[in-house]
Subunit: 470 residues, 2 copies
């Protein structure tokens, strides 16, 4: 198909919409448009023409029916904490905020399931299920403000993915609205289901381009109650990441294996005003074991500590008190913001097979050196998922625009050559759209466009993300 031409939001559209769903859900107020013009991606600004904040699925259906008829683009938005511009209206149209659909519908303790609306803030859900002795593991850094709907759209990860998997691993059913307003239900409180195609997991991670998720059926597990957390300094980044396969071979199954290079930890320490670090360390691993059996964790952390020291760690610092553990995680979570304060930057969300992390870091070092820029790296080493933050530093904006694009492309080419890919948990959105052909073949992209058309023939759902029509 050729590039779609979209209609603008005009008074007639607003009048028709308000008649359908009520005026209180619809806003053209400048502050509402402004608030929905940005997410956490650096330097993007796309104000919508209209903000719609429904309270019920039926209102989402009415909105999409109208938008389909009139060819008005719709971009679903959750907490707007995304890093790839997924919630931004790059073609204008309607920002569809799911924020008011924020009910925890059910916590089913007998089946280890919960049912939630898309707008529930992730941390709120976690606290609610933990209060009942249950556990919803996915923990993106933004969990205090991101939503389950956004997590589903981007297939969010986080540190605990190394043990517990990503959002997709916990989603077992969806209620969503298709582009023409049709309601689609998939899955349910089921641990096995091969009844037809797995639409659930096609929609998870589809960045709001296939359907608007309004409700989710999420699997839960038992809440871990005991933790052993260690910060482990290494003389080199290579030595740090070399430990990752060794941990797995030792039969240890940490809930997190986070990598941070020296500069990343220093930036976070400066931001939070704390002092943590080893004089000779160039990199650190933050490793956490969790479970319910204190004695077992004691044995495991001892084995882990020995393994680290055998493999060249400079030291092993255990967070023996809960306050210390919280501090280490606060540092880890502050890292993104802290690096951002050092300089404007471009963040790349690389993934490689985890035994190839050292090669990936070396490639990043070579490429940035060649272009005279600096990168700060940290991330989820246990999953081979490293965030590479290329800093603008002293470069003028024009030169930065060129250099950062080139550096990103070269990094992605090196990562893909190592068997990796260009995004592990942030999504493609509009930020990585131009780099998608580095990772995916023409055949794959052509097929994905056909799937998009099968869901959304008018390409009205979140246009400008992932790929454009050919």
């Amino acid at each position: 198909m050729s590039a779609p031409r979209y209609a603008r939001v005009d008074d007639a559209f607003v009048t028709a919409l308000e008649a359908e769903i009520g005026a209180e859900c619809v806003s053209r107020a400048p502050e509402a448009l402004e608030r929905h013009a940005r997410d956490e991606s650096d330097g993007l600004y796309f104000p919508p023409e209209l903000v719609v904040q429904p309270r019920a699925t039926e209102q989402v259906q009415a909105l999409l029916r109208l938008c389909s008829e009139r060819r008005v683009p719709v971009t679903p938005a959750g907490g707007r904490t995304g890093l790839s511009g997924g919630a931004l209206c790059v073609h204008g149209g309607v920002a569809l905020s799911l924020a008011r659909m924020d009910r925890i519908v059910e916590i089913d303790e007998r089946n280890f399931f919960c049912v939630v609306e898309a707008g529930v803030v992730t941390e709120r859900l976690q606290e609610a299920v933990e209060a009942r002795g249950l556990f919803y593991p996915p923990d993106p850094a933004s969990r205090g403000s991101c939503t389950i709907g956004g997590n589903i759209a981007e297939n969010a990860g986080g540190p605990r993915a190394v043990k517990y998997g990503v959002t997709a691993d916990w989603v077992r059913g969806l209620a969503c609205v298709l582009a023409d307003g049709t309601l689609l239900r998939t899955g349910g409180k089921l641990r096995k289901d091969v009844t037809g195609y797995d639409l659930t997991h096609l929609i998870v991670g589809s960045e709001g381009t296939l359907a608007v998720v309004t409700r989710a059926w999420l699997r839960l597990t038992t809440r871990p109650t005991a933790f052993r957390t260690a910060l482990v300094p290494f003389a080199s980044a290579e030595a740090a990441v070399a430990l990752v396969p060794a941990i797995a071979h030792a039969g240890l199954d940490p809930a997190a294996i986070e990598f941070m290079e020296r500069a990343a930890l220093e930036a976070a320490c400066a931001q939070l005003g704390v002092r943590v670090g080893h004089d000779e360390a160039q990199a650190y691993l933050l490793i956490e074991l969790d479970g319910t059996d204190e004695a077992r964790l004691d044995r495991e952390i001892e084995r882990l500590g020995e393994l680290c020291l055998e493999r060249g760690a400079l030291d092993v610092w255990l967070a023996l008190e809960p306050g210390r553990r919280r501090e280490l995680w606060a540092l880890r979570r502050a890292m993104g913001e802290a690096v951002k304060r050092l300089s404007a930057y471009r963040e790349e969300d690389t993934v490689v097979p985890r035994a190839r992390l050292a090669e990936a870091l070396a490639a990043v070092g070579r490429i940035t050196a060649r272009h005279g820029v600096r990168a700060i790296t940290y991330g989820h080493a246990g999953d081979g998922n490293i965030h590479v933050n290329v800093l603008q530093g002293e470069l003028d904006p024009e030169r930065w625009a060129t250099v950062s694009r080139t550096v990103s492309r070269e990094i992605f080419e090196a990562i893909v050559a190592l068997g990796g890919t260009i995004t592990g948990e942030h999504g493609v959105g509009c930020v990585q759209k131009d780099n998608l052909p580095i990772a995916l073949s023409r055949a794959s992209l052509a097929l994905q466009r056909r799937l998009k058309t099968a869901f959304d023939p008018g390409w009205i759902l979140n246009p400008g993300k992932l790929f454009d029509p050919e």
Copy 2:
């Protein structure tokens, strides 16, 4: 689209195909056609017109190109152990056997991954990775003869799914051939990947209707080396299944929680010529804990045993010797064949939220009693996935044909009303196609047909399975 008209396999087609891929891969011999006319589904017989057994992906591509051009249907086949007719050529055409593409391409110990061709027999892969201290968990009952390609097509499960998940949870990348002969690569040795739509998991479980999988990238884990296995008799099926949520709430995470009613165990005992059973028991759970830490397993099996007795188990029999453990699992695996020997039957692969198993079994009892037939049930209680075998018994074939269809439909309606679905691991194939609308809405089926068309515009891949074009 309207129902496609398919071409027959004629001499010109065979000549053209042999010129492309060589005559040694192509057979019209009656014994080859006959061999591919059946799988393990009861009473189905669909001989293909041609059997093709390629050795390389390029040959699969050439075949599909030709079949697309000439509108000849192609049905991929693995070990032909399926229970829903997935590998049968219900519209004639080509049986595409992947049996000769059976290389274990790589076992990557550092990354905990393997790369295998579609025709590798599951058990052979398991043995190969276990010899290196690694583990590929999915274990369908047919693992001695089923193939990884077939497991992927059907998203096969097995007893260990309750702890380790199903096939989909271990597949991270695919090489497959689209209907027009295009090669598609998805994923890789990656633990996280949100680069575009998740084609991998759309193709897993699609029953060979979307693409022909030729190679898979499979995640591995650490091999468990210690096991504690218990057979637990109960006075009623309700008491047995009521234990399932209690085990999870106790924080225990067994590798298997299998349910079998008295008649199922008796049939298996008769088949294998062993005596196992409790006079007062109407049902049993077969529970296995696994891990690497013997002391921990000792503590856990003790807690599990206490829990069973508190919850009304008649006894707890531990399989203290490896030989005893093997015997219990041999009984469990013989169950399907053993029940088959009692009578012709129709097997339904029901799933419900696992805390609703008692209601599901009660519904099955009511429905079969009302129609004067008998059902024997067993299966994966930990996943809420129970196989319901409705026996023909003394009914004449004509009456059986009507009654079995009615009983199946009523059972599925009851299961869906409990929040369940009509197949957990066997697939829809041609066996459950007519029942699909009980579980899926018109909107879902319409969307799935559009996805099918986006992959395979001529509907040449495994036609007659899942659903027909409208």
